[in-house]
């Protein structure tokens, strides 16, 4: 790989990614609610900003004033980071004309975001669709050369700004736009508790998945690199923490080795071996990284459950996408 990789800013994760992300490509950060996707996204931008890069955050689910407020608890100053507030207005359900977000709202610095939530104007709320968001991004890229972008979340974009019938085709074209813009992007994807393969994960050049579960020690967090095109990567579940410094991954200790006999992972292994849990079986078989696309070099010290997982994947590899 000739190009230098892009550091995520998450201690440990760059090691898992064999140095970082490949510049100019789109990656997905997935996880259930509360798994740390937004924090990781902001951390990725902070890393760029401290290196003097131009970075932009597009918020679609949480209003920017709350993001700004929440990130203060990490001691991060987002002031110099650009933000595009693509959160929807309150709909007023009558026939007043709506205006296009690309003409009504500007990208601004986080330092200019107010403390209170932005209020929907009394007349003609702003309409946000995937097309208008694409338009804003294109315009923005012409004005400033951004090197990092976070879309938080891609799930909101899909749920609230795309007509159901066009979901898949719009998502595919959105990824195409991201490639054309040549910017390294992290797109957050909200997973239900039982994840199923979706077009956004399929289209991405890589997927970082954040896990959370409960065992005898309380809420546990972990991270896996599910897919990473064009690069070697760590194929283990690694413990992760959200600390005062943000997301931290511990490379030294794979989660599996530190678990006691009570751990949920034992239960998972049990579930994986039982034929009854078809939903989970299906989930594993349909895991988004199909072997032919994924230059994973399995490490020799992989545990037996890793192997069985991989075997079941390759067994269904042909039709898994």
């Amino acid at each position: 790989m000739a190009k230098e990789k892009v550091k995520t800013g998450v201690p440990g994760l760059d090691e898992m990614l064999n140095g970082g992300l490949i510049p100019g490509r789109s990656y997905v950060v997935s996880g259930t609610s509360g798994s740390g996707k937004t924090t990781l996204g902001i951390q990725f931008l902070m890393q760029g900003a401290t290196q003097g890069e131009r970075v932009i955050y597009v918020c679609l689910d949480e209003p920017p004033n709350e993001i700004k407020h929440n990130m203060r608890s990490f001691g991060w100053d987002l002031g110099n980071m650009q933000v595009f507030d693509a959160t929807p207005d309150v709909m007023n359900y009558d026939k007043t004309p709506v205006r296009d977000v690309s003409t009504e709202r500007r990208v601004l610095y986080f330092r200019d975001v107010g403390e209170e939530i932005r209020k929907t104007p009394d007349y003609s709320p702003v309409d946000v669709t995937i097309n208008t968001i694409q338009e804003v991004l294109k315009q923005e890229m012409k004005v400033r050369k951004y090197s990092r972008i976070v879309i938080d979340s891609l799930t909101s974009l899909r749920y609230f700004y795309i007509r159901t019938s066009e979901e898949n085709s719009s998502m595919i074209s959105f990824f195409r736009l991201m490639s054309d813009l040549g910017v390294t992007s992290l797109l957050t994807v909200q997973l239900p508790e039982i994840a199923k393969p979706d077009v956004e994960v399929h289209m991405s050049r890589g997927e970082i998945r954040l896990h959370k579960w409960i065992d005898g020690r309380g809420l546990m967090r972990g991270v896996t690199v599910e897919k990473y095109r064009g690069s070697n990567h760590d194929d283990r579940l690694r413990p992760m923490k959200i600390t005062y410094e943000g997301v931290v991954v511990k490379m030294a200790s794979p989660v599996r080795e530190t678990h006691d006999s009570d751990s949920v992972l034992d239960a998972i292994e049990e579930m994986m071996s039982s034929k009854e849990n078809t939903a989970l079986q299906a989930q594993i078989q349909d895991a988004p990284s199909s072997p032919q696309n994924d230059p994973v070099k399995p490490t020799d010290d992989a545990k037996p459950e890793d192997k069985s997982k991989r075997e079941s994947k390759s067994g269904s590899g042909g039709e898994s996408q």
Binding site: N70, S73, I117, Y159, L191
Partner: protein, 276 residues
């Protein structure tokens, strides 16, 4: 993570406030999820009751149960819930309904203090109109109500029913998004009550909410075991352990210093899927 300068709202359950590092963050929407009988409505009433005790205005949006029944139930527990205001959107006699416009819906339903709810509270006017309830009409009703009165706390019980009632009438995803946005902009601290979702489905209210408190109810050996977890809480540190909870005539109590028994933990683990 420190709590920073965020203003906290007491839930009325001291153990839970402890788990939340002081309470919920003001003016944000939160989800309370759980199976039926797990104590969601009780939590909601307790949250509103706490507000009233502090001299705040509190509003219950009753969709699942008619207000008269709610009042009866809590009176049986010896709680004075008279000061909680209630927006009755219980879908009465829907089968006889004649469609009316959204504006009319908003005008038909009025907010009555809970104490005014007569045992057979179904006004004649209501019977005649029987408007259909949807997420959109609820937003309009709330808008009207919040214009007149500055509420600090709102509970919507439950959004699961609300979504079912709105099916086929509107795009529930974007309506929910708009409703939550409306609640945030109104600067009320809102609890949105949701049935435990299908683990393979993504419910918009859960991923849009700024936090989720989950109430668990499990059969362990031969008795019901209750505990509570905080699944998500944006902008704040929180307790990451499941904590035992009791549901009694004193309402919900949570012991934030106790661990749940091993047997309960095992049932929780069996339930917790990989890749959660």
């Amino acid at each position: 993570m420190t709590s920073g300068q965020s203003e906290r709202v007491c839930t009325g359950i001291s153990g839970l406030d402890e788990m939340l590092e002081g309470g919920l963050i003001r003016a944000r929407p939160y989800v309370v999820s759980g199976t039926s009988g797990s104590g969601k409505t009780t939590f909601g009433i307790q949250f509103l009751h706490q507000g009233v005790k502090q001299g705040e205005r509190a509003l219950l949006v009753a969709i699942d149960e008619p207000p008269s029944e709610i009042r009866e139930n809590f009176r049986a527990l010896g709680w004075d819930v008279g000061k909680i205001r209630i927006l009755d959107v219980h879908p009465t006699a829907k089968s006889y309904s004649k469609r009316v416009s959204l504006v009319e819906v908003a005008a038909q339903r009025s907010v009555g203090a809970l104490r005014e709810a007569a045992p057979n509270a179904k006004s004649e006017a209501l019977k005649q109109a029987s408007p259909e309830i949807s997420i959109q009409s609820l937003q309009l009703m709330l808008k009207q109500e919040l214009q007149d009165i500055k509420y600090a706390r709102v509970v919507i019980d439950s959004v699961t029913s609300l979504k079912k009632l709105s099916e086929g009438m509107e795009d529930t995803r974007s309506s929910i998004s708009s409703l939550l946005r409306f609640v945030s902009e109104s600067e009320v601290t809102a609890l949105i009550i949701t049935d435990l979702p299908d683990p393979a489905e993504l419910e918009s209210e859960i991923f849009l909410a700024r936090g989720e408190v989950r109430l668990h109810k499990r059969m362990v050996a031969n008795r019901i075991d209750r505990f509570v977890t905080i699944e998500k809480f944006r902008g704040s540190d929180h307790d990451t352990m499941p904590r035992p909870m009791t549901l009694s005539e004193r309402g919900i109590t949570v012991d934030a210093r106790k661990k749940i028994p091993k047997a309960s933990l095992r049932t929780l683990q069996a339930f917790t899927q990989y890749a959660r």
